[in-house]
């Protein structure tokens, strides 16, 4: 187990290096960011030269690449072309926001998705099953931004213009007071800002988790050991949760794990609709404006997060299925 974990951790190095190199080269091919730095207006040769020198754009590609790797190895992710700020500062500002949103979306996904999937499987072909199937299909089909706009209009604009009680009115953008307990629990004034984007972000994944849970649960429920468990006289609840759900969880956990990793950095649409200041939108805008240091720096962190979460998901398999062993000692 330890050897396996160590090998996986060491694999992070080539993965990260490969991703960084590819992105760096991509930005070289994409062109000189000087036009973006200057903006749409014309500029004198002097100003162009000043900006070129200031950002080291006059250096050969290899020199810039070498300097970038050296800086990254020292924990310096560089300085944004567009904002003039340290990428480390941008990361410190946006990463917690993305992480909080992703974690709450995942919690919603687990709570609703798993519950709906289990109910749907246990009550196969019932009204509840049909309801879950229809509603999850609808959720998957509706684009995130449409759902976001619907929430905004119904619980923001309409609620405000029709004098709904305060508890039924929701802010439609921003992160609010940005006060959290223990890093993740929203303060009294915060949860209203969090709820709509978290539910929106969770919507598609929740539906997928519900469908996946239903499918795997149906498969497990037909297994011999489930009949054995029932025959032993265990309560239906214990049979389903202890013997059924645990065995059905591996593909679901894989899905949720990968989802957490992607939600941290890929919540661009949700962040955009709700003006949530996270990493996804920041990377997307930086890519559009050829702000290479921001793209490279934030992507580096996302790649590491992705690999680490993947590793944790893999390691969690052993918990859900004790037959799984790592490090070559499996039977």
């Amino acid at each position: 187990m330890a050897g396996y974990t160590l090998r996986r951790v060491l694999l992070i190095v080539p993965v990260v290096w490969g991703a960084m190199t590819l992105l760096f080269l991509a930005f070289m091919v994409r062109g000189n960011p000087i036009e973006t730095l200057i903006g749409e207006r014309a500029s004198s040769a002097t100003v162009r030269a000043q900006i070129t020198q200031k950002y080291g754009l006059d250096q050969p590609v290899l020199v810039r690449y070498g300097r970038y790797l050296k800086n990254v190895s020292h924990g310096d992710l560089g300085r944004s072309y567009k904002q003039g700020r340290s990428v480390n500062d941008i990361l410190k500002q946006t990463a917690p926001n993305s992480l909080r949103l992703a974690v709450w979306a995942i919690l919603i996904e687990i709570l609703i998705g798993l519950t709906a999937g289990i109910i749907s499987a246990v009550r196969q072909y019932s009204f509840l099953d049909t309801f879950v199937t229809v509603s999850t299909t609808m959720l998957v089909a509706v684009p995130v931004f449409v759902l976001g706009y619907l929430f905004q209009y119904a619980l923001g604009v309409y609620a405000f213009q029709h004098n709904f009680p305060a508890w039924l009115r929701f802010p439609t953008s921003g992160i609010g007071p940005n006060k959290w307990y223990f890093g993740f629990i929203p303060s009294a004034g915060e949860w209203k800002y969090l709820l709509l984007p978290a539910v929106t972000l969770a919507s598609v994944s929740t539906a997928v988790v519900a469908r996946m849970t239903r499918t795997t649960m149906l498969e497990v429920l037909r297994a011999d050991y489930m009949r054995t468990a029932v025959a032993k006289g265990l309560t239906p609840r214990r049979v389903i949760l202890k013997h059924g759900l645990k065995n059905a969880m591996i593909p679901v956990v894989t899905l949720i794990g990968l989802d957490l990793a992607s939600l941290i950095g890929s919540a661009v649409l949700t962040e955009s609709v709700f003006n949530w200041p996270g990493m996804g939108g920041t990377v997307a805008r930086a890519a559009q404006s050829l702000d290479a240091p921001v793209v490279l720096g934030l992507t580096l962190v996302l790649v590491v997060a992705y690999v680490v979460i993947n590793l944790l998901v893999d390691l969690s398999y052993a918990f859900f299925d004790p037959r799984i062993r790592y490090g070559g000692d499996a039977t």
């Binding site: 036009e35 014309a42 905004q152 953008s173 609709v273 003006n275 200041p277 997307a284």
Partner: protein, 574 residues
Amino acid sequence: MIRRRGFVSAALIVSIAMFGVACGGSKDNNGSAPTTAAKSEGKPIFGGTLTDLQNFSGASPDHLDPNLAAAVQDSQPGQLIWNELTKTNPKTGQLENSVASAIDHNADFTEWTFHVKKGVKFSNGDPVLPSSFAFSWNRLINPALASEVSYHVTDNLKIQGSADVAAGKAKTMTGLVADDAAMTLKMTLDAPLNFADKIVSHLAFAPLDEKDVTKNGTLTVDKTVDYEKGVMVGNGPYKMLEAHKPQDNVTLVRNDLYTLGHKPYIDKIIFKEFNGEGAQDTSWTTFESGGGETGYVPSTKFAEAKAKYGAENRLSDKPILGLYYWGFNMKDPVVGGPENVKLRQAITAAINKTEMINKVYNGSRKVATAIAPPGIPGQKPGVDKIPNQNLTAAKKYLADWEAATGKKASSLDIKLNFGIGLGHGDNAAIIQANLATIGIKATPDGRDGTTYFSSIRKNNPPGMFLRAGWIADYVSYDNMLFPLFDSAGIGSDNLTQYDNPEFDKLITEARAAKTDADAGAKYREAEDLVLNKDRAAVPLNWYAGQVAWSPKLHNVVQSSLDFFSYEDMWLSKA
């Protein structure tokens, strides 16, 4: 100055202006001017917090440092944090003295003396001195800062010695002398300029407290750029409450040491920032759900908003000094040159400006019948003799062109060049359809929006019929003509590569004119050349305000330069 709002054309800006000058002596700073003010309402009330959702509805600011801020929206907080030597009155559009108590100049406008008011203080209590301006202006062009608005000094004012400072050969300009004892700032220019007092009203010329700017170190790249990451100190009606939080907000509170105008009514202003593809829609939704007091109306929702808020006098849709136009590449063998004037006129007469405004901008803009919009001193409406679509005239022009050149319209393929996004593609589609009605084939050529202008400037690949836009930095006729059509602007903001010595001569004469009337006449003559004799461009529409506000907010005034005077607004208690 760049306008950086979503659906609107991002425009360029620069340059200079001219009008109204006396022959030597002191300037009275009175000129004809635009009025884009809403009427005042009731008795002002002190207090409250204004949450602004309109200013940064498109994006967070790139810079707030007055020496660095380039976009209109980025400059708005600075308009409240700093007061320059002069300022444009938001209600009347006229230039007024601000920190300057008086302004003198010599007969040929090459030497200017600004007398600085005594007792003006920065919000930290330090005095505002002539040296505060000299420090700022030298910093503005310091190569370490690499400011994109340094052209105001180096290219527009052309203060003696500015080229050396910009090139890193000197630290200070020889033509800028501050005398703190006498409270004067003397400026010597390389060439006569009769509207230098207008140029110094720009935010880039704000006074800076040297002690505050350099507290973290000398003028090195990082230290000086880092200045805007902290609480910057100014001399305006408001001051920063805390350091700017990008992607969050800019928060200002009343500056109690402000003495250059009345005490601002509102205690605190929070400029909320919106980012991402749907930023404007999100900001508008936030406004409509009661999340703030001001909101920017997306063009797609303008008609609906005008019906709703306009009826309650809570919408600013007054014209601002900006132009959306498409220009002809005058060096292009197909559409350029004197032999193709009739073709350019035919194309101009085929375009339906009203259709474009209604379909693309939901009626939020006005049909442009000249380059200079209403409100520009000396401007006369209707300079363009082809003010809108006239298909009969278009066909006649085209027939004349065919007869004169022996070419056939059916063999043409006009490239419509534009940067992808912001609705320019929709405009290109309308132009394409309009030209088809007179038998001219046109092909949209959408380019990467981030590099579109540089590709046009570099002729790589060359443009043929290209989209452009412009918003004035100063209330001046010159500012709408010189940068766009003077031969000195080729390779820069003269995107059409229009090169007519007669035009250049008229601009030079206008700049040297001794009276407003003389200057205005010269500029109109120059504009007539561009539009009617040479037809280098097609003015399509003039920009207008698109801001709505809550019934709690009073005395909302939008200046013709697209700024709001928040210091004059107040909030009702309810």
